[in-house]
């Protein structure tokens, strides 16, 4: 059994730290075995919670909660991916789900599982975005929230963040800024997210690189200072790593070992 599968128990009892949780959720989105085990363990953990029960909650809490929900509208049902991209129309129950009585095997189990996985990815995404928001001081969360502007960029970012195989690599640069690479092999794209990037002066910039074995290919540049995000120009096929260096504002053709800030090796 691979290392990551072994974390399934710790995941269910919330014993993973933020990075471990993110990593596991990315795995969960593509692993039906772990997904099934998570679900079973959640039932087990719910039973385990019986041992904690000591006293009923304060009565005042009940009225407070009941009055709170009277001001909240329940969300509409989730749309199935095949039906529409937006959260506007009310969803019809899926034919597959409707036909599946409890304990009965769906006819096309694979299709159903795939469908369930899509639905689950939404919740995984929400969790991943929340975790990323904590990790990056809201940069990634901000990306998702800022719907009014940069609609095209937004769509690309959302697509990347919702990709089933999205992975986030986080590293601290030599200069101290925190950077993340959000990577999807299936979309063939990667995005650079910088948090509190140190200023590098007007005549210099952060240069992104894609690495293919020993070759480094110059990519987009990003100004220093503050929070920045930038898609990599190069598609990811053949890319084995991503790097950031500080270069003259126009960018460089060859990286210089002394200017490299971060090198991250990507999973295949």
């Amino acid at each position: 059994m691979s290392e990551i599968h072994g974390a399934v128990g710790s995941y269910v009892v919330n014993a993973l730290d933020r990075d471990e949780r993110e990593e596991f959720e990315a795995h969960l989105a593509v692993c039906p075995t772990c997904t099934r085990e998570v679900q079973e363990f959640c039932e087990t953990a719910a039973e385990l919670s019986l041992l904690a029960s000591e006293a009923p909650p304060p009565a005042a809490l009940r009225s407070s909660i009941l009055s709170a929900i009277s001001e909240v509208r329940p969300l509409p049902p989730e749309l199935l991916p095949s039906e529409a991209p937006a959260e506007i129309a009310p969803a019809e129950p899926s034919p597959a789900a409707a036909k599946t009585a409890p304990g009965e095997r769906p006819i096309d189990e694979l299709a159903l599982r795939r469908q369930q996985r899509r639905t689950r990815i939404l919740s995984v995404l929400v969790a991943a975005v929340m975790a990323a928001a904590l990790a990056l001081g809201g940069v990634v969360y901000g990306l998702v929230q800022a719907r009014q502007s940069q609609v095209a960029q937004q769509a690309a970012e959302t697509e990347l963040l919702t990709a089933p195989d999205v992975k986030t690599y986080t590293a601290t640069m030599k200069d101290g800024g925190q950077v993340s690479f959000v990577v999807s092999r299936s979309l063939n794209r990667a995005m650079f997210v910088g948090k509190d990037l140190p200023a590098v002066g007007a005549d210099r910039a952060y240069q992104l690189w894609t690495l293919e074995g020993k070759a480094a290919i110059p990519d987009n540049t990003v100004p220093g200072g503050g929070d920045r995000k930038e898609f990599f120009r190069e598609p990811l096929s053949g890319v084995t790593g991503l790097a950031v260096s500080v270069e003259a504002a126009g960018g460089a053709q060859q990286p210089n070992p002394s200017t490299i800030q971060v090198i991250t090796k990507l999973a295949a």
Binding site: V8, E40, P56, P57
Partner: protein, 211 residues
């Protein structure tokens, strides 16, 4: 002690509330009833939500308070969780598991997130790291109501190896990360990870929880 007695409703909760959930004989019926309540909630029925609250709140509050230990924090997290259950009621589906597991998972996750986000609680973690986790384990075992279902889970826990039980208890009830559990038990992280998973497998099998 009379094992089948329902705890008195000293707080004025409707009779039966949480205890009904636990009764072994009616577990399936209860699960189906909770699903019906969720469906009604998704259509905006507040009375159904009130009943859902009455049937689940003791259990949900129990786990939140156990992890957080502060009634103030627990009340806040309770409110968050139940508002979220109401909001998400249309998004719950049987595919995701039972209603109670769905709610417990959400409650536990939020309680643990709260523990880790509150700095004084982090300090508490470190204190425990040096003074050992025995107290944590004792608290869970002491004063637990001897209801049939609790008894069943307790027997399930007793069937685990001591290390599995301790690792699972510290993680689930203590809200510790697996690394902190490793430190508390003075075991390698990989071992703790395996023990937590094996503990859940053992408990699952002992309880005969179906997928």
């Amino acid at each position: 002690m009379n094992v089948s007695r329902v705890p008195p409703d000293s707080e004025g909760l409707p009779s039966g509330s949480a205890a009904r959930l636990g009764a072994s004989s009616g577990r399936e019926t209860d699960a189906a009833h909770l699903r019906e309540l969720m469906t009604l909630c998704s259509r905006g029925h507040e009375e159904a939500f009130a009943e859902l609250y009455d049937r689940t709140s003791q259990r949900i509050y129990g786990i939140i308070l156990r992890v957080l230990r502060s009634p103030d924090h627990a009340a806040e997290v309770m409110q968050e969780v139940y508002v979220e259950v109401w909001r998400q009621s249309a998004r719950y589906s049987q595919d995701k598991g039972s209603v109670i597991a769905w709610m417990t998972t959400m409650a536990h996750r939020r309680a643990v997130d709260r523990v880790r986000s509150v700095s004084s609680e982090v300090a508490r973690d470190e204190r425990y790291a040096f003074h050992g986790g025995d107290r944590e384990i004792d608290q869970v075992w002491d004063g637990v109501e001897q209801r049939l279902d609790v008894e069943r889970v307790r027997r399930g826990m007793a069937s685990l190896t001591p290390i599995q039980r301790e690792a699972l208890t510290l993680a689930y009830f203590g809200g510790y990360t697996q690394s902190q559990v490793a430190q508390l038990l003075k075991l390698p992280l990989g071992t703790v990870k395996t023990r937590i998973r094996d503990g859940l497998i053992g408990l699952r099998d002992a309880l005969g929880v179906e997928a």
